[in-house]
């Protein structure tokens, strides 16, 4: 079955892999494919991982994507926003946020485009990104890899990258870790001497030249670029039958 995996399913596996080794912490995925990934990790190789319904409860069994608000839930614990903020400061969390812009050191922007004082485009605001990035591991999900997302410099640093954490001092660095950046082209990390972004793997059929073309800064390219792993039969079945039977994932990353 693996040979038939779609791009969105390969992305879901790449997202799930971001939580490998996280242990008993709260996985907070933003977006459809990261949500599938977190729940898949919890159902397979990361069984202690904690996940919620995206609202106020922690689940003991996954809900399918798009479940109505009154769907029956296996409620394991209570996770209102106040508890969530406490968990952020405790460090027992690994979030995967979106990024309107991200740079080579993992600085992320979701706040606005253009100068903050009078933006060309006001977006969400910084939301929880400043606190997330200095308190616990943070990964990012970019469904459409392009040069306007992977930029030389972000307009408003919402999530803190490695260079900015270093410049801010030891307190900002202590719990700072930008783990993975997953896009529709591949997986990237910061496991380089100066923490600049490196290709960790590319999805099947994607070339180094192609992804470099879609990135406004120079990526670190390892001698051997692995291919992102494909879903196992069990994983594909979980994605298609349990986690996302309505195929919402294809709306986020269309099949190639």
């Amino acid at each position: 079955m693996s040979s038939e995996a779609t791009l969105s399913e390969i992305c879901a596996i790449a997202c799930a892999e971001a939580w490998r080794g996280s242990g008993e912490v709260l996985a907070s995925p933003i977006g459809t494919i990261p949500t599938i990934g977190a729940r898949l990790a919890a159902l397979t190789f990361e069984p202690d991982l904690v996940y919620g319904d995206g609202d106020a409860v922690q689940l003991g069994a996954p809900l399918p994507i798009g479940a109505p608000p009154d769907a029956e839930k296996v409620v394991e614990a209570w996770l209102p926003f106040g508890k969530m903020f406490d968990i952020v400061q405790s460090g027992k969390r690994h979030v995967m946020m979106g990024a309107t812009q991200i740079d080579r050191f993992g600085n992320q922007n979701i706040a606005c485009i253009g100068p903050w004082a009078k933006p060309k485009a006001q977006l969400l605001g910084v939301r929880g990104a400043p606190g997330n990035t200095v308190n616990h591991p943070t990964s990012y999900w970019v469904p459409a890899h392009g040069p306007r997302v992977f930029v030389e410099q972000v307009d408003c640093v919402s999530g803190v990258g490695y260079d900015r954490a270093d410049a801010a001092g030891a307190t900002a660095v202590r719990f700072h870790h930008i783990h993975h950046v997953v896009s529709n082209k591949g997986v990237f990390d910061f496991e380089t001497p100066d923490h600049s972004m490196r290709i960790r793997s590319l999805h099947p059929g994607v070339t180094v030249d192609e992804v470099q073309e879609l990135t406004s800064f120079e990526l670190v390219v390892p001698d051997d670029v692995p291919e992102s792993r494909l879903p196992t039969d069990e994983e594909l079945q979980l994605i298609r039958e349990v986690l996302d039977p309505a195929n919402a994932r294809a709306a986020e990353v269309p099949d190639a």
Binding site: W116, P119, G125, P130, T133
Partner: protein, 277 residues
């Protein structure tokens, strides 16, 4: 009290905290009354949704203090965006957790609380007044989040009693309790006022989240959070929220929305949304 009685307690230039979260359980009937009033130059502190957007659209704001402004199912709040992009309001943008910390500091009557959030991000550049503080016990240098002291807090609860205790029947009361404690005066609107002792027929003791020591008045406002959601009493009205979002397209569209949903008595609003004949 009525919504108009609450508005009569407000003054130009006040700092007003609006509880709830995004497009969830916002005291919208009081916000609508503010829009109908002559009030101006307000500073709003909120996890913002259509409350902040409407105040922007009606020109009531001098400044917004927020961690985000979103309509949830419509991620970007169009009226707030327009105000920011046209530079018609001042802004203090914070990390969500910092906003909580600012309210908590005000509630505790301390000048600041230390946090890591904000260090290294644009927060310290876009808010140049923010300072850091050195730990007296170690090497850490934290951001010192200043108290966000409010003149007035407005919140909407599922139930309240006439003395100002308030009850939350949904799964999250957000930071309503902190807003109440951070404010000089807090006004509560609610779906229904219950008789003394009536709370336990609605939910357990732990659902009675707001203490009358921290409130100054109660408005019975059925569907007072509408079109935001007020679970379990009602879900968000996505159709009207979309009409509201679309009204940012032109001054005429906003005027039309305003005439239809805001410049009318609340009883007529309830008739309009089909919950009162």
């Amino acid at each position: 009290m009525t919504e108009e009685d609450v508005v009569a307690e407000l003054r130009d230039g006040m700092t007003i905290g609006i509880a709830g979260w995004g497009s969830r359980r916002k005291p919208m009937s009081i916000v609508r009354a503010i829009l109908r009033s002559d009030l101006k130059d307000l500073t709003v502190v909120a996890y913002g949704g259509p409350d902040v957007g409407m105040l922007c659209a009606a020109g009531k704001l001098r400044k917004a203090v927020y961690g985000f402004v979103s309509l949830d199912s419509i991620p970007l709040e169009p009226h707030f965006r327009a105000a920011r992009q046209n530079g018609t309001i001042d802004a203090m943008e914070l990390d969500e957790g910092m906003l909580q910390w600012g309210l908590r500091a005000a509630a505790m009557r301390v000048d600041f609380l230390p946090c890591r959030a904000g260090l290294g991000s644009a927060i310290t550049e876009i808010n140049p007044a923010l300072a850091t503080v050195r730990s007296p016990y170690g090497e850490d240098e934290y951001l010192a989040m200043p108290a966000l002291t409010l003149d007035v807090a407005l919140l909407h609860a599922n139930r309240a009693d006439a003395r100002g205790n308030a009850q939350y029947l949904g799964p999250d009361w957000y930071f309503d309790d902190l807003f109440a404690m951070a404010a000089e005066k807090t006004f509560v609107s609610c779906e229904r006022i219950v008789e003394p002792g009536g709370f336990l027929a609605e939910g357990s003791e732990s659902t009675i989240r707001i203490n009358r020591m921290f409130t100054s008045g109660v408005v019975e406002a059925p569907y007072g959070a509408h079109f935001t959601h007020c679970v379990p009493d009602y879900q968000r009205d996505e159709a009207i929220q979309k009409e509201y979002a679309d009204s940012a397209k032109s001054p005429e569209a906003w005027a039309e929305f305003r005439a239809k949903y805001i410049d009318i008595p609340e009883a007529e609003y309830r008739r309009l949304i089909g919950v009162q004949s």
